[in-house]
Amino acid sequence: MGVDVFAIAAAALMALGFYGFVAQPHPLRRILAINIFGNGVFMSMILIARWLPDGPDTVPHAMVITGLVIAVSASAFGLALIRRQALNRRSEPGSTDD
């Protein structure tokens, strides 16, 4: 097969997400980076489903759906923690906002 634009996109998302996770100190940006990385992983799984010899395979699709559910709930937990962190900082006297 020739160059697949989806493969390049998946690789780019994973690279971008990885860079974000390593380089960004703020937790909100890191959550976003993890989700971008995750989207790259999910995209590559759908590609693998298409490339398998027996045509589009349903097992990776099921895995993506399960993975999305887990990623959404874990991200929600992370966002709730970030909110709590911000509220803690606000209630601490003499603390500087960042």
Partner: protein
């Protein structure tokens, strides 16, 4: 009936955890106590059955793979179930005091712990890569909120960092799962082994993603940065579960994958590399443990060091090393739970865990400190303890394979762990001319003291129970 045991071990704690969560009882935690007794008894039954008749297999709902889920209890799985049941039962007894009636967040502790127990059992019994991903996530999502229970926003930063690393690690692992499916067309651990063995670069990439993802979750150096604050900041009962079971589950997975689906890809240089990472973890964790000023941080850094020993299996990869690594996981889990519970007793009595202000604790906290010292004997690897047996097996494996450099690592690691354990004991027993320590709480009651002591005694007793447990484990797959 015995075929249903693996399913019951997963669903009974789950169901009880969910019920505990929705009912949010503030009275005596009756449901968790009953569930603990039932789950521990069923674990014992399953272990006895596997010991007598060999591995047990169960297809959930009668559906066979690839659609259904296969639960599989082999020697390695039941040894991990044994560790979970022993540690879990003792921590449950301890939590009756530390998270009993009218303690804020107690109901959440019980709900999360029961969900965690079910998730751990599911992880150990899973036989395919994707179910392992799901169960790993369930373990993380049940374990991470436990850190928050320290209360009043004290551990929000540590919890968030733990979550971010766990989430990233599991997505890296998932990328590996996807690649394995692309190469092998199956997710079954055993069936994937042959297609992976001659898959070249793609297989190596898949294996790297799997191993890297798990290493992030297992807090292996250099991915350990989230562990000390999380394990050091959580309530004692939660710290014991996190350090003894949760990170251990990730290392267990590394052993499982390396010897089954990745067996054909597991080259000698890769094994030596993982061994070197383990050695780095041992030295780094021990030195940092020695430098800490807080008791719980000493124990947390000790976990980073002790997990390194289990990685020494990979360069040697012989039966002796296999037995040594798994036995080390068992011995460390039980001893580490005892250490964290003892530290919890110190904090309950004194109100803090600053090492330099702990002098003169030997009188009021005699049994807890004795338990701490006994568990320390196992961590140091002195005979006759479980830690000694594990290190002795690893030493013999190093001698058998002629890899003398691991002998050096094991010896240096033992000396370093003796240094940080004795440093804690020196502060605790040292008495400055009749002065006793200022304390804020009452003396820990029997529900706090005796589970701690029981775990410490078990850590020592593992020194003489090696034969039946290693027979249960069986040889290297």
């Amino acid at each position: 009936m015995t075929e249903a045991l693996p399913a019951l071990l997963v669903f009974i704690p789950f169901l009880a955890g969910v019920l505990q969560f929705v009912t949010d009882r503030r009275g005596i935690p009756l449901l968790p106590v009953v569930t603990t007794v039932i789950t521990a008894a069923l674990t014992g039954w399953l272990i006895a059955d596997v010991a007598a008749h060999g591995p047990v297999e169960h297809f959930l709902g009668g559906w066979e793979p690839p659609l259904g889920i296969r639960l599989h209890a082999d020697g390695l799985a039941v040894v991990m179930l044994l560790l979970t049941a022993i540690t879990g039962t003792m921590v449950s007894v301890y939590a009756l005091a530390s998270h009993g009636r009218h303690v804020p967040g107690a109901s959440h502790f019980w709900a999360l712990w029961l969900l965690l127990w079910g998730s751990l059992n599911a992880l150990f019994l899973s036989g395919d890569l994707f179910n392992i991903y799901v169960t790993l996530e369930m373990v993380s999502l049940a374990a991470i909120p436990l850190v928050l229970l320290a209360g009043a926003g004290k551990t929000t930063d540590a919890t968030l960092r733990y979550l971010l690393y766990a989430l990233f690690g599991s997505l890296v692992y998932l990328a590996g799962v996807a690649l394995v499916y692309g190469i092998a067309g199956t997710l079954d651990l055993s069936l994937a082994a042959d297609p992976l063995a001659d898959s070249g670069f793609a297989g190596a990439l898949a294996a790297s993603c799997l191993v890297l993802g798990i290493m992030i979750k297992a807090a292996i150096v250099p991915f350990h940065v989230w562990l000390p604050a999380a394990h050091g900041g959580a309530p004692a009962a939660a710290s014991a579960l996190l350090s003894a079971l949760v990170v251990k589950a990730a290392v267990y997975l590394l052993l499982r994958l390396w010897t089954d689906p990745l067996a054909g890809l597991a080259s000698a240089p890769a094994g030596q590399f993982l061994g070197a990472v383990g050695a780095a973890a041992i030295v780094y964790g021990s030195v940092r443990a020695f430098l800490q000023e807080r008791l719980k941080l000493v124990i947390a850094y000790s976990t980073i060091a002790q997990l390194g020993y289990m990685l020494l299996f990979f360069p040697m990869a012989v039966t002796l090393a296999w037995e040594g690594a798994v036995y080390h996981g068992l011995a460390h889990g039980i001893a580490k739970a005892a250490l964290f519970l003892a530290a919890g007793n110190v904090i309950a009595y004194v109100g803090h865990d600053r090492l330099r202000e702990l002098s003169g604790l030997d009188r009021p906290l005699a049994i807890s400190l004795f338990a701490f010292a006994l568990a320390g004997v196992s961590i140091m690897g002195l005979p006759p303890s479980g830690g000694f047996i594990a290190k002795w097996l690893l030493l013999r494996a190093a001698a058998e394979t002629g890899q003398w450099w691991w002998l050096v690592v094991l010896t240096v690691g033992g000396l370093l762990s003796a240094a940080y354990m004795f440093r804690v004991l020196r502060f605790a027993f040292l008495r400055s001319a009749g002065a006793t320590v200022d304390h804020q709480g009452p003396r820990p009651g029997p529900l706090r003291v005796w589970p701690t002591m029981a775990l410490a005694l078990l850590a020592i007793a593992l020194g003489v129970t090696a034969a039946p447990i290693l027979a249960l484990l069986g040889g290297m797959p």
